[in-house]
């Protein structure tokens, strides 16, 4: 009996996949999520609320999430945000640091144990506003794509999305505006995957809030005026799916980079250079999701 109690005390269950890990583990052995999340969650004594940011490779997930966290920690939009643990700062530090040097942050590796995770406590700065414990990983687009193509390949994504309270789906509006079907098709794949993850009773719509974030909207400013119209026109497959299956969906336009220069490297690749940042529409999707969850 004593042994069982001791073993139970030494085992900690991952917040994402509920796999038992030894107390000294830094990463979950099953899904590779940081065990610091569980330590922080235990301290809060509240069920954490997972908000996922998903999208194709190179759509801008890292920059969006980095900016969002940075703005929250600066009390933008009248939010009070408290990062839990130094690891929660790493992503915004990477994004802000690189953009300040006029570089985009490095690609997020496909290996889940290399991802940045952020754990924030967020509340509106009004009396008696509820606090949310937000867990937000910066996932690699490639890993998402691989999981969407062959579900159950990456347990971390499967478990994370099945526990997600609200989701931000990032779609490249600039590419869509230029007529590329890729953002619409990949967006549709993500939506069908979410549909499987959130699926309730047959025929019932999904009630988890999903914000469709049209990224790089500075290339197609009409996005800001009427994101719904833009989505219906340029991302018609996604639009139709959302209408059919999602009860809580909203469309937002966003852009992070104010002006972009272009250079080239010695191999002929076009290298975009962020000349200055002008975040627009970053907080709104997040704010909308929180209002749905309140």
């Amino acid at each position: 009996m004593t042994t069982e109690t001791e073993t139970a005390a030494e085992t900690q269950y991952c917040l994402i996949c509920e796999h038992g890990n030894p107390s000294e583990a830094v990463l979950c052995a099953h899904c590779y999520a940081p065990m610091a999340l569980i330590h922080d969650a235990i301290r809060q004594n509240r069920e954490p609320c997972i908000i996922s940011v998903i999208g194709d490779s190179n759509v801008g997930k890292t920059v969006y999430l980095g900016f969002l966290l940075d703005m929250l920690s600066k009390r933008a939009g009248d939010f009070e945000a408290v990062p839990k643990g130094a690891y929660s700062i790493n992503l915004q530090q990477t994004v802000i640091g690189h953009l300040q040097r006029r570089q985009f942050p490095p690609k997020t590796p496909s290996e889940a144990d290399q991802w940045h995770w952020a754990y924030y406590q967020v509340a509106r700065r009004v009396r008696n506003a509820p606090w949310f414990d937000l867990v937000m990983p910066d996932m690699a687009g490639e890993t998402l794509a691989a999981e969407v193509e062959s579900p159950k390949t990456h347990v971390v994504i499967e478990n994370l999305l099945s526990k997600t309270a609200g989701c931000l789906v990032l779609i490249d509006a600039a590419a869509a505006a230029l007529g590329s079907p890729q953002p619409d098709l990949f967006g549709l794949k993500l939506m069908t995957y979410l549909d499987q993850m959130f699926a309730g009773k047959r025929g019932e719509k999904i009630h988890n809030p999903v914000a469709v974030v049209l990224c790089k909207a500075d290339y197609c400013p009409q996005c800001f005026d009427a994101p719904r119209v833009f989505a219906e026109t340029n991302l018609n497959r996604v639009w139709n799916f959302c209408e059919s299956r999602l009860a809580n969906v909203e469309f937002f336009a966003t852009s992070m980079i104010g002006s972009l220069g272009f250079g080239g490297d010695e191999e002929g690749n076009v290298v975009p250079i962020p000349l200055h940042t002008a975040p627009r529409g970053i907080l709104e999707p997040f704010e909308w999701i929180l209002s749905c969850l309140e």
Partner: protein, 466 residues
């Protein structure tokens, strides 16, 4: 990836085809390019024979952005693992210019070849031979605009191995450390081996110490940054290990630094470990590779212990003394053969011992020859192999004694009671009696009476009298 070294799941080694045979392989390319299907790291080309689950496994095991140890353009890595369904995958990773999205860093390019487990023997059960033929065949060179469905490749099976590099790696790490790593790999423990130099030679040396039929279950990687999601049994890494130490905390993965950690933790050497360590010490990697490739599918610890013990004894024969050699015969040749390899090893051991004793006894004195006579006679009933050896050696001793001291030879023959031995050495007995009779012609009468009594003492040898 499940790992089982108990000996029940291994594949039967098959006879290797001729060296100029080519092995048909499927291939896949995993890298980051912009394609109509999207961008980022993914399989951009795969031959038609690859199954979806194989492609998924390759994508999971292949490195993405920043996944190689080292940041230089010359950085390379290799990996070997079993795919779902049982086929084997050997993958070469390298850099292929700058990351195309302009977000900094180098693009990582991986080419994987997939072949049947039965073809593994044509590469001498050594994935590094596959990597070498891939390199020499140009498969290590990045191809960023391949056909979406390229044809499979035919890999030649005659790689050039640089023995001296392996020997140097063994010398740098030390035999004790290699033994420790081998023990862990054989038992299926996950190990990260951190080296100052590229770890390929060291990992190859360890890998070749594993019995061949077990090797396809031992996944390995060299030069890939450690990731807990890539479940390699043996992962050789270079550079800073702080991140690895952090990741593996609390998990059944052991990080070792042969060049920096002093001596390895104490562990018990079994016969197999001893055999491999001896080969490493003597820098006879090729001999070791040839031997480990002969091991039968019964790779249970007991079978390996028996096989290695026979091999170790065969290697000790060259320096052993007659008493020790006869004890060896009594110990090893008395056991029943479990399989063909054991049978062959016993025959080889018997042959080596016979040659060694023949060499020693061809120059031995009468005292030395008669000193081991009882032990020699006791060998015959032990086993058929021991009987054959004993008969040969008894004949040799008798012939030598017949020349040096016919009476001593005759006295020795009196001690033989084993009927089959007597029958087998009939000719030698005749020679002894002839020598004794020649001796009697010139012997002193008092001595002659004693010898004549001896001659008459064994009616069972009547037929041998001249």
């Amino acid at each position: 990836m499940d790992f089982e070294l108990s000996g029940v799941t291994v594949t039967r080694p098959v006879v290797a085809p001729a060296c100029d045979a080519a092995v048909p392989c499927d291939q896949a390319i995993f890298t980051s390019v912009r394609t109509p299907m999207g961008e980022g790291y993914r399989i951009i080309a795969a031959s038609a024979g690859l199954k979806p689950e194989e492609k998924t496994a390759i994508a999971k095991q292949s490195p993405s952005h920043g996944g190689l140890c080292g940041s230089g353009e010359e950085t390379k890595a290799v990996a070997f693992y079993k795919l779902p369904g049982g086929r084997l995958c050997a993958a070469l990773s390298c850099t292929a210019g700058k990351e195309h999205s302009g977000r900094g860093g180098l693009r990582i390019y991986t080419r994987a070849v997939v072949f049947d487990g039965e073809s593994f023997c044509t590469f001498a059960y050594n994935p590094f031979n596959v990597f070498r033929v891939m390199e020499s065949g140009g498969l290590g060179t990045p191809e960023l605009k391949p056909e979406k469905t390229p044809p499979g490749v035919q890999l030649p099976t005659n790689p050039t191995k640089r023995e001296e590099e392996t020997a140097a790696a063994v010398a740098r790490a030390g035999v004790d450390w290699l033994g420790y790593i081998l023990r862990a790999a054989r038992s299926g423990e996950r190990l990260v081996v951190a080296c100052e130099d590229p770890p390929h030679c060291l990992v190859e040396a360890v890998f070749l110490g594993i019995p061949a039929p077990m090797r396809q279950n031992v996944s390995l990687a060299c030069g890939l940054k450690f990731s807990i999601g890539r479940a390699f049994i043996l992962a050789g890494v270079t550079g800073d290990t702080a991140a690895t130490e952090r990741i593996i905390r609390g998990h059944p993965v052991v990080l070792v630094r042969p060049n920096a950690d002093g001596s390895p933790p104490k562990f018990e050497y079994d016969e197999w470990q001893r055999m491999v360590s001896d080969h490493w010490t003597e820098a006879t990697a090729r001999e070791l590779q040839e031997f480990t490739a002969r091991v039968s599918p019964d790779c249970s610890p007991a079978a390996l212990e028996r096989i290695a013990a026979l091999r170790n004894d065969a290697r000790r024969v060259a320096t052993a003394k007659p008493a020790g050699l006869l004890q060896l015969v009594a110990r090893r040749l008395a056991q029943a053969d479990a399989d063909e390899l054991e049978c062959n090893l016993r025959k080889e051991l018997a042959g080596t011992i016979r040659m060694r004793l023949e060499r020693i006894w061809s120059q031995a004195s009468e005292t030395e020859l008669t000193a081991h006579w009882p032990a020699l006679l006791a060998l015959a009933p032990k086993s058929p192999e021991a009987f054959r050896l004993a008969v040969a050696l008894i004949g040799l001793v008798l012939r030598r004694l017949a020349v040096m001291s016919p009476v001593a030879a005759l006295e020795c023959t009196q001690e033989i009671s084993h009927a089959q031995v007597l029958r087998a050495i009939n000719a030698d007995l005749r020679d002894v009696r002839a020598a004794v009779e020649r001796w009697l012609l010139q012997a002193d009468p008092s001595q002659a009476r004693h010898v004549e009594k001896l001659l008459a003492k064994r009616p069972g040898t009547d037929g041998c009298t001249a």
